[in-house]
Amino acid sequence: MFNYKNVLSTIEMVEREHLDIRTVTMGISLLPCIRATGEATAQAVYDAVCKKAENIVKVSEALSKEYGIPIVNKRVSVTPVSLICAAFPEKAILTGKALDKAAKTLGIDFLGGYSALVHKGTADYEKTFLKSIPEVLSVTEKLCSSVNVGSSKSGINMDAVKLMGQVVKSTAAATADRDGFGCAKLVVFCNAVEDNPFMAGAFHGVGESDTVINVGVSGPGVVQHAIEAVPDADLAEIAETVKRTAFKITRAGQLIAKEAAKRLNASFGIVDLSLAPTPARGDSVAQILEAIGLESVGTHGTTACLAMLNDAVKKGGVMASSQVGGLSGAFIPVSEDIGMIEAAERGDINLDKLEAMTAVCSVGLDMIAIPGETSAETISAIIADEAAIGMINNKTTAVRVIPVPGKGVGEQVNFGGLLGRAPIMPVHEKSSGKFVARGGLIPAPIHSNKN
């Protein structure tokens, strides 16, 4: 029989501390859907996604009830669409629309994979594809897009970085009526991973099998509560507490992932250990850092606390799951975390501190609203800085910024739901234009040469 403490602690985690499975994401290979024309391909893609994922919502809801753990999002990720539409990139938008339609048919929350991998060079078909992103994101709702512009092995494709600055700007302009909402569905990566269940950056890598279930867990509130229960602990003891907590959270994820894969007739892929916050109070990574002993996230000591937290989460999680992958760390999105939102409103956290934090955690500058008048070159330079951190540190980094059209510092943008609200943060005003205009490739670092 089970002991009271354990049973009641699980129930308390769900009821009071926001423990949930953030997402059950089905990765689907679209490679068998390539046809002779853009139209036929889009139709084949729609049919394949609707067929493979037809039960994902039903199964997730049943699992959620049976195990008593909420499953917040059901998602699908697909093979990067730039590959599927390489022969007719000007028609990629048809596949984008077909995927969005499939997402609506299935009743899932998001579908990721309107993506391109251009970390070493940009083929002509990829250039056409990248330029289609703003329009696609303006006419779709659930479709997410990501672009990998660098890797530790290949360096940083600065031509793609330059282009992505423009793509981000155009996406904001194309969705200006919704405060640039399209940019919330667009991530620029360095070292993108092929089995990430989280949006907006999920895509299904070509090295994966045809149908895979990846699960992302969430539990910042549980970790915060555990830390608050040991007020006099030193940092080694805090790290131990986080490890133990991460273990429990991840085990729940592992159980759901295995069972979901079985019922959906898919392979079990990975459990992503990321601590993913929501805008709800008590479900915040920033508040964990504050529970450790910072007056506000963003003050001196933030990077050190985050480094410890991120590492402890991994150590606890790795033992709890047979296969760990995805991004696996602490997320620090600004608009999706109440502690971050409030720190940004108070002016206690800025872009420079966030950039430093991304060096020690997953993933990057995430869900940050910046002034609408920010130039494409400045956005490219922000992407380049973040990609450099990822490239040198052998980790995934990403940029998801929203240059909110017509709004400036001091104003706010509200995307609602899990995407939350964000005060617009200032960027540096001096130009990075000449650096960005040079283009070319930033060569891979010496430590990438391991053969």
């Binding site: 029989m1 089970f2 049973v7 049943a62 049976e66 729940a252």
Partner: protein, 89 residues
Amino acid sequence: MRAVVTVIGKDKTGIISKVSTFLAERQVNILDISQTILEEYFAMIMLVDLSGATQKLADLAEECKLMGEKIGMSVHVQHEDIFKAMHSV
């Protein structure tokens, strides 16, 4: 299949009787039961067998939640594996 039923709330008379009758009506067999009062709160944990049950686990969980609301208690029914997974190595 086995599940864990937890009943938590302010103590009053007849809780065990109501919950066990409700389960019996659905052919849910109670294998083990333990109950305590933590401060003034009633906490009961039951291990039950659903192999002969008239309802599926997901539906039973939903019904028990509603039944709990009626008697002013928080009632959960969860697959036993979630507790095994989270609290044992």
